[in-house]
Each structure stands twice: as C-alpha cells, then as structure tokens.
C-alpha cells in the first residue's frame, strides 16, 4: 500500500472544508461533504486491511524523523477508530440530505457542512496521530466545531447546552494540556513512542504521576465518563439531528480511544496498576452503567433518553478496559464500534420522528408506531441491540464482557451488566410502549399546517440511512468477523506490552 494514503485521510477534509464554507447552495455543500466522507471511508478501509495483521504504517510529516517531527504510526487500533468515524460520517451525510434543509437556516448550509467536515477532520486527526501535542490541536478542532454545531439546535436550550459543553470541554482540554506539560517537563519529548521507550528513566518522578492524573481527568471530561458526564445529555439532546447522530456515535468514542492509547501505549500498564486505577475504573464503569441506565429510564424525552443511555454504554467500555484481559479489551473495542452503530441508528430514528412530528417527547408520540411501522421496526431493532438480545451486535459485546469478568472472578461486573440490561429493557420498553401500545388516537403532528405534503411520510434519504444502520446492527450481530478480527488484533497488540497477572 502506498503510505501517502494515510495522510490523505486528513488532507482531503482539510482541503475541502474551506471550499465548502464559501458556498451557500445546499446541493453543492452536501456533495462536497459526501465526497469527503466517502473518500475517508474508502481510505480507512484500505488502511485497516493493510494493518489488521498487526503490522503498522509509519508516516513522517514534513519528512522529519520523530521525535523531532510529528509522526503518524498507524496500527489496527488507529485504523479501526478511523473506520468507525468515517462510516458514521457517511451515514450522517446520507441523513443530512433531507434533514439539514429543515433544521438549519438556509444561509448557513455551506458553513454548517464545513463545520461538520472540520469536526470529522479533527476526529480523524486524533485517531491517527502519534504525537501527543498534535493530538491536542486536533482535539480542539473537533471540539470547537462541535460547540458551534450543537448550538445550531432549534431550541434555545441548545445554546446553553453548547455553552456548558464549551466550558467543560475546554476545562478538559486544558487539563489534558497541563498533563502533557508535566509529562514533557519530565521526559522532554512529545512523541508517544519516544516517551514510552524511555519511560523507565523518569518513571518515579512526581511530575509523571501528576501529569497522568491530569491527562486522565481531561480525557474523562471529554469522554463523559461517569461522574464527569454532566454536559452530555443536554448537548446531544438539543443538537440538530445530524449533529446528534454524528457526535453521539463518534466524539466520546474517540476520547475513549485516546484514553486507551494513554493507558496502554504511553504509560506502562504496571504503572497504573500500582495506582489502583483498574479498580477505580471498574467501580466508575459499574456505577456509570447503572446510573446512566436508570436516568435514561426516568427521561420523558426520546433524545435525552438516548443520551443518558450513552453514559451507560460508556460505562460498559470502561469496565472492559479495567478488566485488563483479552476478552475485556476485545469487548471494549468492539463496543466502540457496536455502540456507534446502535446509537447512530437510534438517533436517526429520533431524527425521523422529529422531522415528521416536530417533537420527541414520549408523551406526544402516541400512535406513532402504527403510522410508521418501518421506522418503528428499525428503532425496535436497534433498541434490542442496546439491550443485548442474541443475534444483535449488543449481545456480542456483552458476551465477551461477561466471559472476561467471569474469568477474573469479578462478580460485581456480572451483577452490574445484568442490572444494566434489565434497566435497558425497561427504557427500551418505555419507548415501545409510548409509541405503539398507546395508539388509541391518531398521531398528532405538532405545529405544522394541515396538508403539508413533505411531512406525510418519512423522506427516502432519512429512511435509507436509518435502515442501513439497523441492518448493520443485525448484520454485525450475526457476522462478527470484521469487528472481531480487528478487536482481537488490537487487544493482542495492546496487551503484548507488559501485564502483571
């Protein structure tokens, strides 16, 4: 494979986004976005197939050797994350075709799509880079564009949600920056591989430990790990549909990816085992699962319900990391993929509901299932995946997670997963009940003039995107090869460094 392809993954959105910003036409900006996300998808597929055997591609930016220059060192984990991000970007782009004209001011189409591409660029940049300061720069690109994107939601609450995300996100990023600074003060380097190889020479400095804690706090805020999740429900609950779909499926995942990188590649595993971090993560993960599921069950509004369920799903991923065995890591990495797929599908369902009825309040959705059986079916399918019913993607993750926990004799995890699943049944049932079984009266279309043809049925592109997502939930539940192989290769690579039994 030509290694120049790796950098193209970042260069394509970088060169097309500024052009997109200049257009006002929806068609042109959409086509440009479609080109960007499609090329990203193809490129990340090519790269993933190249590195899935455990090899890696090295790309020196500017031709400078690391650690003096910035390098990309791409292994299966990088490529897998890039694949998740660009696949979701493709789904969101399909969905955007008919939902953006309805939700965004017509003068802003070009700017909106440009911001979306910049967000994609930032996330891809984080996923590929091997330089920890470069990672910060791309983190900020993706964060700044997501603050702007979230504030485009139609309720005024979107503005306050974006503002509090801006505050907490910037605190997170600055904590990360402090951590990097402390690590730099001890190591004198910013290259992840370089720091890792020389780690033993400065391992016992207090600088290194403080740096570690601040990096973790920063990433925890960005990844919305319980109890630092407070920005997430509002941000994803009030954002425009496309933004909710894209960000809920990718933004927190990419932060978790950085966390995995820091824990397994930057700092030696033994270092944070000594700090009791696996136990702390385990408890946070379990509490997060139960708390997130419980709050989701309490919600009366569909998008907020889904957002709280994300908090719970992040908990599962954290549990998997904390188990520190092959099954646990495999489960976590696969769940990054599976949850992205499930949550994108569910948010697309919510987007279609919003498109047609102008509301996502569960109490106002009575009878919806009857009038839109296909959309309803897709939502139910994704909901079943969320619960973890056999045959869907969610089941695969929970299976590996359970077997990893049982192998270590961590029964608290088993209890947490079972409780989380029961609560998941409860909140998915809540959606089903609200939409289907209360169908005594006909669906009410809120605030729309009678006879508006556009709203009579779900537009084609929206349904298409939804069904691609739903089919994915089923397909990858039955044929797990692609995510499983990647996750296996990743887990082996991550654990091949030193793990104390």
């Amino acid at each position: 494979m030509n290694e120049q392809l790796t950098i193209l993954l970042v260069v394509v959105p970088l060169m097309i986004a500024p052009i997109t910003a200049l257009f006002k036409s929806h068609t042109i900006s959409w086509i440009l976005t479609a080109i960007v996300s499609l090329t990203s998808l193809i490129l990340s597929f090519i790269i993933l197939f190249d590195v899935i055997d455990g090899s890696h591609v090295i790309y020196e930016l500017g031709g400078w050797r690391p650690p003096w220059g910035i390098e990309y060192k791409i292994d299966s984990l990088n490529a897998f994350i890039a694949l998740i991000v660009s696949a979701i970007a493709c789904l969101s782009t399909i969905f955007a075709w008919q939902s953006v004209p309805k939700e965004i001011n017509e003068n802003n189409y070009g700017l909106f799509y440009a911001a979306l591409q910049l967000c994609l660029l930032g996330l891809l940049g984080i996923a590929l880079t091997g330089d920890i300061f470069n990672l910060f720069v791309f983190l900020e690109i993706s964060s700044l564009s997501s603050y702007a994107l979230i504030s485009m939601g139609r309720s005024r609450k979107a503005l306050t949600a974006a503002f509090s995300y801006l505050i907490l996100g910037t605190i997170g990023a600055t904590f990360f920056l402090i951590g990097v600074g402390f690590l730099y003060a001890a190591s004198g380097s910013l290259n992840i591989a370089d720091i890792a190889t020389r780690f033993s020479t400065f391992a016992d400095m207090q600088l290194v430990m403080t740096g570690f804690i601040f990096i973790l706090l920063g990433l925890g805020l960005k990844a919305a790990i319980f109890p630092m999740h407070s920005w997430l429900p509002n941000a994803y609950g009030h954002a425009p549909s496309v933004v909710s779909i894209f960000l809920s499926a990718t933004a927190t995942k990419v932060s978790i990816y950085v966390l995995i990188r820091v824990l397994f590649d930057l700092y030696p595993v033994a270092y944070w085992q000594a700090l009791l971090l696996p136990q702390i993560l385990l408890v946070l993960g379990c509490v997060g699962v139960i708390y997130g599921s419980f709050r989701a069950w309490q919600q009366v509004e569909l998008k907020r319900l889904l957002a709280f369920s994300s908090v719970a799903q992040i908990g599962y991923i954290i549990i998997g990391i904390s188990l520190l065995n092959n099954d646990g890591i495999t489960a976590s990495v696969m769940h990054l993929f599976n949850h992205a797929l499930i949550k994108a599908t569910l948010f697309m369902g919510a987007g279609i509901i919003l498109y047609r009825t102008n509301t996502t309040k569960l109490s106002e959705l009575r009878g919806f299932g009857g009038s839109m059986p296909w959309t309803f079916a897709a939502i139910v399918l994704a909901g079943l995946s969320l619960i973890g019913v056999p045959g869907t993607v969610g089941f695969v993750t929970k299976w590996y997670l359970l077997s990893g926990a049982i192998a270590q004799g961590k029964w608290i995890v088993v209890v947490a997963i079972l409780a989380g699943s029961v609560l998941a049944i409860a909140y998915v049932w809540k959606i089903v009940e609200a939409m289907y079984f209360n169908s005594k009266r006909k669906m009410v279309i809120q605030n729309v003039k009678i006879g508006d043809i556009n709203l009579a049925k779900a537009p084609f592109s929206l349904s298409l995107a939804l069904w691609i997502g739903a089919a994915g939930c089923l397909y990858f539940g039955l044929y797990t090869e692609l995510p499983y192989q990647s996750a296996q290769s990743i887990a082996t690579a991550l654990l091949s460094s030193e793990v104390a039994p």
């Binding site: 003096w68 702007a148 609450k157 102008n358």
Partner: protein, 189 residues
C-alpha cells in the same frame, strides 16, 4: 536579576487575576483582563520568549479584550448580578485539591532556568544545534513552528478558521426582532 523581575511580575499577575475575580463591574473587568494579558506578555519577554510575548500582547490585550468589550456593548449588561445562590465551597475545594496536586507534581521539576533539564536536553537540543543548518532559518521558533512541527501550525490555522466559521454560524444572520420577549423565544419557534 531576571528571576526577581519575574517574581515581581508574577505577584502583580496574581493580584490582577484576583481583581478580575472580585470586580462586579464587567467593563472594569475587561480592562483588568487587558492589563493581565499585558503583564503576561511582559513575563514572556523576561522568559526570553519574544515571539510568544508578541502574540500574547496582540491577542490578549488586543483581540480578546476588544471582543470582550464589543460583547459587553452588545448585551448592554455591565454588571454582574449579586447572586444569592453562589456556589463557593465546592469550587474552592476543587481548586485547592487541584492546586495541591500541581504543587505536589512540581516537587521534582527542574528549577527555573536550569540548563540541563529534560525539556532542554532531549528533543529541543536537536533544534538548537541543527535547526539553522537543516532549515536555513535563524529564528528557531519560526524553524520549529513552520517546518519541524508545521503540521501543528496547519492545525492551528484550521482552529482559527473553525472559530471563524462557528462565529459566523452563530452571529452571521442579522437579528430578526431586536429584543425578544421571554415567551417568544420558546422551544418551538
């Protein structure tokens, strides 16, 4: 000598930061904030970082303060409300813990100005000895910024563009109605 100057400026800086915290008048706060940035720029000069000082002076005292003033002019609300429910204890504890942690961390940091500290000996040493020979630029900050870490700078320019796009998305449209009444700006406009 430069250490003393550094200390004096830092004391002023701390005073200024506390003044920003305490003042209730937001226009005064904007001015204090400008002064704070100017002091920081001065500190950068003492720390032999004229490029950073230049930028901080132009951005902190210039652009940021002007934007703050324009925002204040636009929202016509010059005072911070005296809040009854102001949270004080929680934030104080967080800050003390974080500050304590940072001071704990700086225990084994190389002392200020140490010639052979890890940050100066590892990667940076290469820039100083080879920088001009490899890039042909005597200003090593420019050499690292534009060439060795040119990709970071590309990212930085993209951040600027992103901020521009974001602000245009938020404020690009002319306002429809001047002052919205509370009820009008409701969820479902």
């Amino acid at each position: 000598m430069s250490l003393m100057l550094n200390l004096v400026l830092l004391v002023f800086l701390l005073v200024m930061a506390i003044a920003v915290l305490k003042t209730k008048h937001l226009f005064a706060m904007a001015m204090l904030f400008g002064l704070y940035s100017l002091l920081v720029a001065g500190l950068f000069v003492v720390l032999d970082a004229p490029d950073v000082a230049f930028t901080e002076a132009a951005v902190g005292t210039g652009i940021s303060t002007v934007l703050m003033l324009v925002t204040l002019a636009s929202i016509k609300d010059g005072h911070e409300a005296v809040s009854t429910t102001q949270r004080k204890i929680g934030p104080l504890i967080i800050c003390l813990v974080m500050g304590g942690l940072l001071i704990f961390g700086t225990h084994d940091i190389a002392k200020l100005g140490e010639i052979h500290s890890p940050p100066n000996d590892q990667v940076a040493a290469h820039y100083i000895t080879q920088g001009q020979a490899e890039t042909g630029v005597p200003n090593l900050v420019t050499a690292v910024l534009a060439s060795y870490r040119g990709f970071d700078t590309l990212g930085e320019v993209t951040v600027v563009l992103t901020a521009g796009i974001g602000v245009l998305l938020l404020l690009g449209q002319r306002r429809k109605i001047h002052v919205k009444k509370r009820g009008q700006a409701h969820d479902d406009q």
